[in-house]
């Protein structure tokens, strides 16, 4: 595999940017805009979906206020880094303008695709894990980082199928992507658990296979178990419940390997009161402090 170093500056451009602490943050959804801006809850940082703020009006006012009071991370869901036909220039430009406006501490996207022939398929769709796909994603990540003048974090998606052509384990694909483009990795522990369960991998092998130095953020969320007619089960990454016990265990395993990193609690379906999210964040914070105190990650090399 030909290794190529990107010319993209891999680090932030040295402005007054607020950095995201290695603590638990919360995914901010519209339901909690007002509660956060008026109540200023004790949360280390917030993350929002970038595309929800591509327009103007009241929402953007709220985001300005949140960015003023808290470290903010922008998480993209629609850039389609895996599109064989390249990126949507307009989308990239809107993302660039939003970044310029709120100056987020982190910017992330997904190892997936969602657009083909100019049509947006509204989901994080799986890629065949091939050299061809790796070259495409590298090209698109390079272009994004050059345009944004930022290091991008790329997140492992949850998946429900495997392509016959897939020859590279997903963790190796991510490692190669980080190596070639200088991007970081957003390790979604729930997605690892969901994909591993749906595809028969060992979640621990995934965590162990990721390059420690590239991990810039962790995501945690709830998922559901769907029982199918033939008695088999499928885990669905719906972000609609508390983090599952097995995912908390995997999170502890991830922290033991990566050390404390910014960790986000996501909840998108049936969004509960803010207090529930604060409660989940407190639980993540306890594990993060423990990992920091014990310095276990230092011994995990």
């Amino acid at each position: 595999m030909a290794h190529r170093r990107s010319s993209t500056p891999p680090t932030a451009m040295g402005t007054q940017r607020s950095t995201i602490p290695a603590k638990a943050g919360i995914g901010l959804r519209f339901q909690h805009h007002q509660a956060v801006v008026e109540g200023r809850p004790d949360v280390a940082w917030f993350e929002v979906h970038a595309e929800n703020y591509f327009g103007g009006g009241t929402r953007l006012r709220y985001l300005d206020a949140v960015a003023h009071d808290y470290p903010l991370s922008l998480h993209g869901t629609g850039l389609s880094l895996g599109s064989g036909e390249g990126l949507d220039d307009v989308h990239l430009e809107r993302l660039r303008q939003l970044i310029e406006r709120v100056d987020p501490g982190l910017v992330s996207e997904h190892l997936s695709w969602s657009a083909v022939d100019g049509i947006y398929l509204a989901d994080l769709l799986p890629l065949p894990m091939t050299e061809e796909a790796l070259a495409v994603v590298c090209r698109n990540v390079d272009r994004t980082q050059t345009c944004l003048q930022r290091r991008l974090l790329v997140e492992n998606p949850s998946s429900y199928l495997r392509f016959a052509a897939s020859a590279i384990p997903e963790w190796e694909f991510l490692a190669a992507l980080a190596e070639r483009t200088g991007c970081g990795i957003l390790c979604d522990v729930n997605n690892i658990y969901v994909s591993a369960s749906n595809q028969g991998w060992r979640p621990s092998a995934y965590i162990a296979g990721l390059p420690r130095a590239a991990i810039g953020e962790i995501h945690l969320a709830g998922h559901t178990v769907k029982r199918l007619e033939n008695g088999q089960t499928l885990r669905i990454d719906d972000h609609g419940s508390r983090v599952a016990p097995a995912v908390w265990s995997l999170f502890a395993e991830a922290l033991a390997r990566f050390g404390p990193v910014p960790t986000l609690l996501e909840w998108d379906t049936n969004v509960p009161p803010l207090s529930v999210l604060l409660d989940e964040a407190a639980r993540a914070n306890a594990l993060l402090s423990e990992a920091g105190r014990e310095g276990r990650y230092a011994d995990a090399a």
Binding site: G55, D123, L228, L234
Partner: protein, 264 residues
């Protein structure tokens, strides 16, 4: 190979045609079709939710089941072209006109047009404000030739039914108000724009409507004023300026982008 897989996946999600993509999927445990159904469910659910947020009154008027059925047909004919789903649904009012099951509710497309105008008022990009001092400093002859540049959040809508009253009653779940709407009351002319805390919908009289139509179409001020009665002009213009409906002005500039939801 990648583009081939992506096009086959598109056929599966959009046209429910799994034939191309199934051959690429490892058939272990669940069938490829069962696995693809997970993605299709998300695809449809995400877009249905986006359209329900943009068209809440239409959704309530026809009920969840009807709405979801209509949306499924709509998505296949008009899939989104970008990932910003606040921008998705511009064709939905027009689609309802040609969707036979919707013909039972004659005012449905008009309600949808109003909701799309409201959606744009909420989510259109921010823009600056007209500098009134610059306007005041113009020579009188130049002032007569001023062509205003409208704010991207402002829309004009001419509807055959009193859709503003219907829309309000439906969203407030006020059955008495809905029952009291006089569908035969004739057309309404509406100006929809951004207010401090959301959206403002204003009914315009005949002359105010013509004036707004002229100004928003980039007609020069003197041409727009000709149609107004004496004394009417300054109040109407002041209302537009105070509400921030214009972001800029030009003199002797070419006509600007059309803003109309519909003129009949």
């Amino acid at each position: 190979m990648l583009l081939e897989v992506q096009r086959a996946m598109r056929a599966s999600l959009l046209a429910r045609d799994d034939r191309g993509i199934s051959a690429h999927i490892v058939p272990v445990g669940l069938t490829p079709e069962a696995r693809l159904a997970v993605y299709r469910n998300t695809f449809v659910a995400v877009l249905t939710n986006a359209l329900r947020l943009a068209f809440p009154a239409v959704s309530r008027l026809v009920g969840a089941e009807f709405f979801e059925g209509a949306v499924r047909v709509f998505i296949e004919a008009h899939p989104p072209h970008n990932a910003c789903l606040d921008d998705y649904g511009a064709e939905f009012p027009g689609f309802l006109v040609g969707f036979p099951p919707a013909a039972l509710v004659a005012y449905l497309p008009d309600v949808a047009r109003l909701e799309w105008a409201v959606n744009r008022a909420l989510h259109a990009p921010d823009a600056g404000h007209l500098d009134l001092k610059r306007l005041a400093a113009l020579e009188e002859a130049d002032r007569a030739q001023v062509r205003f540049v409208p704010h991207p959040s402002v829309r004009l809508l001419h509807a055959q039914h009193p859709v503003d009253a219907i829309w309000h009653a439906v969203l407030e779940r006020d059955d008495a108000a809905l029952a009291a709407v006089d569908l035969a009351a004739g057309p309404v002319r509406l100006l929809i724009g951004r207010s401090l805390d959301g959206v403002a919908i204003t009914r315009l009289g005949e002359s105010a409507w013509r004036f707004a139509l002229d100004l928003f179409a980039g007609e020069p001020l003197d041409a727009a004023l000709v149609r107004l009665a004496d004394g009417e002009a300054s109040a109407l213009l002041a209302d537009h300026l105070a509400a921030g409906h214009f972001v800029d002005f030009r003199i002797h500039a070419p006509a600007l982008r059309p803003l109309l939801g519909r003129v009949s």
